[in-house]
């Protein structure tokens, strides 16, 4: 004979309270998932330029291992030295700086500005509209263009000079900035740079890891394969945000703990008389404890089940509203949040369990107050 699902029935006997409890747990988990998702989304966006690059190896100044918020300067003569190395199919330089792209209405968009050799690696992987930059021309992201109020053929200012917009890329706007492309020679002229490049992108004939090792050893430069370079980029963001994430997660789980504690406390208190009946009928403490724990399980399970689609919907809404803030929901993040919630459920159930242990079976014979 199957046992009566007392825990679930007890929890759902007052549906509004069950709703508030589940909604509260879902909100607390949403807080954790949203925070996690914002950082995951930011990281995906920030490494997009690296992840979509045709380069197998990224070469930078010694000690520089990423692009975001970094400055790298390599003598231009090193490009030829890299090209001559065995295992190198091609090597192309880029110049790189962070600057504002300013539209005609003085609207500003912070951007990585990249100077590259048109037709070679280092430029936009795909131009959605228009063409590669000619002399005095720039390619910007379509979303950035709409923010700046600029159309193809329009004028923008960056690197202290005016540029004609020759093309649009897509998908290169992130939470911090966007990416824009000009010709290498134009970048040099605008900034008065001679004989220096920022990074060298390299196509490998063989194993990129081996090639990166050779370049690092022989040329006293920092060379990393694309996956390693991307991982370093991610670490800049994750190392910067770890402490903040920890503070927010503790706060979110504390809120969750209070909600679970309140829900279980209220559900148990309202059924103390029935619990007394069960005790009088010979129910053991283990069975009664399972009832409380099953209530905790239902509350948490339903909370997680609501929180996940809610986070996905929130991510959709945030992206539509902002255009550059993405919220990436990952399986790892859901598992971590659910695991945390299970621990909270265990802690939140302690007080009701004590309450049940103290219930006198004689309660059932007393008149209800």
């Amino acid at each position: 004979m199957r046992g009566v699902p007392v825990g679930r029935r007890n929890l759902l006997s007052e549906w509004r309270r069950a709703f508030l409890g589940i909604a509260g747990v879902a909100t607390a988990i949403l807080l954790v998932l949203a925070l996690d998702g914002l950082f995951a989304g930011a990281m995906n966006q920030i490494t997009r330029i690296i992840d979509t690059s045709p380069a197998d190896v990224f070469v930078a100044q010694r000690g520089v291992r990423n692009m975001h918020m970094a400055t790298s300067a390599i003598p231009a003569s090193e490009v030829e030295a890299i090209r001559r190395m065995p295992g190198v199919r091609w090597a192309d330089p880029i110049l790189y700086d962070t600057d504002a792209v300013v539209g005609k209405t003085a609207a500003r968009q912070l951007s990585y500005v990249i100077g590259y050799l048109p037709g070679r690696a280092g430029g936009p992987v795909k131009i959605a509209r228009g063409h590669e930059p000619g002399p005095g021309e720039i390619v910007i992201d379509q979303r950035a263009a709409s923010r700046l109020g600029v159309t193809l053929g329009g004028q923008v200012r960056t690197l202290g000079a005016s540029w004609r917009v020759s093309g649009f890329t897509t998908g290169l706007v992130n939470i911090v900035n966007s990416v824009s492309y000009v010709r290498l020679g134009d970048f040099e002229a605008a900034r008065g740079i001679r004989g220096v490049v920022s990074f060298v992108l390299v196509g490998a004939a063989g194993n990129p890891e081996t090639l990166a090792g050779h370049i690092s050893t022989e040329l006293d430069l920092s060379a990393l394969s694309r996956p390693r370079f991307s991982a370093q980029e991610r670490r800049v963001v994750s190392d910067m945000s770890t402490d903040l994430m920890r503070i927010m997660t503790i706060a979110a789980f504390s809120i969750g703990l209070a909600v679970i504690g309140l829900t279980l406390h209220a559900a148990t208190l309202s059924r103390l008389r029935e619990i007394g009946v069960m005790k009088a009928l010979g129910a053991r403490s283990g069975r009664l404890s399972r009832i409380v724990l099953s209530q905790a399980g239902w509350t948490i399970g339903a909370g997680v089940a609501f929180a996940v689609p809610l986070t996905a919907a929130l991510g959709w809404a945030v992206l539509r509203a902002t255009g550059n803030v993405t919220l990436a929901l990952t399986a790892g993040s859901v598992i971590r949040a659910a695991g945390g919630a299970v621990v909270l459920g265990g802690i939140g159930a302690v007080a009701p369990l004590l309450m049940i242990a103290r219930v006198d079976p004689m309660t059932v014979f007393r008149r209800q107050q």
């Binding site: 007052e14 509004r16 309270r17 508030l20 909604a23 509260g24 909100t27 607390a28 949403l30 807080l31 949203a34 914002l38 100044q61 000690g63 520089v64 291992r65 990423n66 975001h68 918020m69 970094a70 400055t71 790298s72 300067a73 962070t98 600057d99 504002a100 300013v102 500003r108 912070l110 200012r157 690197l159 202290g160 939470i175 900034r191 008065g192 001679r194 220096v196 920092s222 670490r235 800049v236 190392d239 910067m240 402490d243 903040l244 927010m248 706060a251 979110a252 809120i255 209070a258 909600v259 309140l262 829900t263 406390h265 209220a266 208190l269 309202s270 929130l314 945030v318 902002t322 803030v325």
Partner: protein, 366 residues
């Protein structure tokens, strides 16, 4: 009979344990909102720490420059031209480049400031050691140095070059990273910067008129300190304010749920008593006031508890992670109190509906 029965208060206090849990839950939600606001206030202060501390009234950058996050290149020949303008007390070039340090396997964002020895632009508070005099020397933030066991005479690698630590600065760190200071030439060599500065800092008694003169005579942009500080903060807000507001909104929703859950549970347990009150002819408005009284009281207790939790959490955060600055303005506190008021009103909806649907005949049932 004089006076009314304080039903709201009695109902709220009927179960002290539930009240305590509710106050804790609302308190944590409110504390999170306080903490987010405080951290944001700290971020804004830290974002303009250099502008606030360096002592320049004007920042001269290339045309169109409006903040310190963007690239600016000013020919060094402009420095003497600026110095010659009447009203300019002092004009010094600086170089600002961002880089990523790897300290004990952890990435730390650093703003490298290059300035000429004895000139404006270096660390404004140097409690330990001295400013860099030669190209191989560096000043690092005191907190960063302590965290990574770097002392005077120690060495630190920046963009592949090793520098000797000659001074430790104060007030030069944020949760995102830290400032490090070296000589102008060292920074130029390190980053292969052309024969130019990023900015020229100007000290003057007449910022507005001198700014106009500089722009007319050099074709560069001369930006008031207040403007560049505001622009830096605006730029940072554009990046971070959206996610921050999202977190505040979720914390607000969580707090509202907890108030509603606590009061709703209290109402359900006293359903019979509310039935009696209804049977005695109490108006719907009075019943709504009873519920609102409870949600408001709980929200108020939550704000008080939240502030206490916030103060404790803020002290702990700053102690454990000195790079965080928590700065909560009075107006933000009022804002949170107003949000708690809204929380109380929203949280009253479900309990009020529950009472409204109560049948007074409940009282006659067994």
């Amino acid at each position: 009979m004089r006076g009314r029965v304080p039903i709201a208060r009695r109902n709220l206090l009927a179960d002290r344990r539930r009240l305590a849990t509710g106050v804790f839950g609302v308190g944590v939600s409110i504390a999170l909102i306080f903490l987010l606001q405080g951290l944001w206030g700290g971020v804004l202060k830290q974002a303009s720490a250099y502008e606030d501390g360096v002592g320049a009234q004007l920042w001269v950058g290339d045309r169109g420059t409006s903040n310190t996050f963007e690239s600016s290149v000013v020919p060094l020949t402009a420095v003497d031209r600026i110095r010659a303008i009447p009203g300019v007390d002092r004009a010094d070039p600086i170089l600002i480049r961002s880089t990523v340090l790897t300290l004990h396997g952890r990435k730390v964002l650093a703003s490298v400031i290059g300035s000429r020895p004895g000139a404006m632009g270096g660390a404004w508070s140097l409690p330990v050691g001295r400013a860099p005099r030669s190209n191989g020397e560096i000043v690092v933030d005191r907190g960063l140095a302590a965290q990574h066991g770097i002392g005077l005479g120690g060495r630190i690698e920046v963009a592949g070059e090793a520098f000797a630590v000659v001074g430790l600065s104060a007030g030069t760190r944020s949760w995102m990273g830290a400032y490090v200071f070296m000589t102008f030439d060292a920074a130029r060599n390190l980053f292969h910067f052309p024969d130019a500065a990023a900015f020229v800092l100007v000290r003057t008694q007449h910022p507005s008129s001198v700014a106009g003169a500089i722009e007319r005579q050099t074709g560069l942009s001369a930006v008031l300190r207040e403007t560049i500080r505001r622009n830096d903060r605006t730029l940072l807000a554009g990046v971070m304010k959206g996610p921050l507001d999202l977190m505040v909104a979720i914390a607000f929703a969580a707090g509202t749920m907890i108030v509603a859950l606590t009061i709703y549970s209290a109402v359900v347990e006293r359903a019979r008593e509310y039935g009696i009150v209804k049977a005695l002819g109490t108006s719907g408005t009075r019943l709504l006031r009873i519920v609102l009284g409870q949600t408001s009281a709980l929200a108020a207790l939550g704000v008080a508890a939240g502030y206490v939790i916030f103060r404790g959490a803020a002290a702990l955060v700053v102690r454990l992670r000195p790079q965080f600055l928590v700065s909560l303005a009075g107006s933000r506190i009022l804002w949170v109190v107003a949000a708690a008021g809204l929380m109380a009103v929203l949280a009253a909806i479900l309990p009020a509906r529950r009472i409204a649907q109560l049948d007074p005949a409940t009282v006659y049932r067994g």
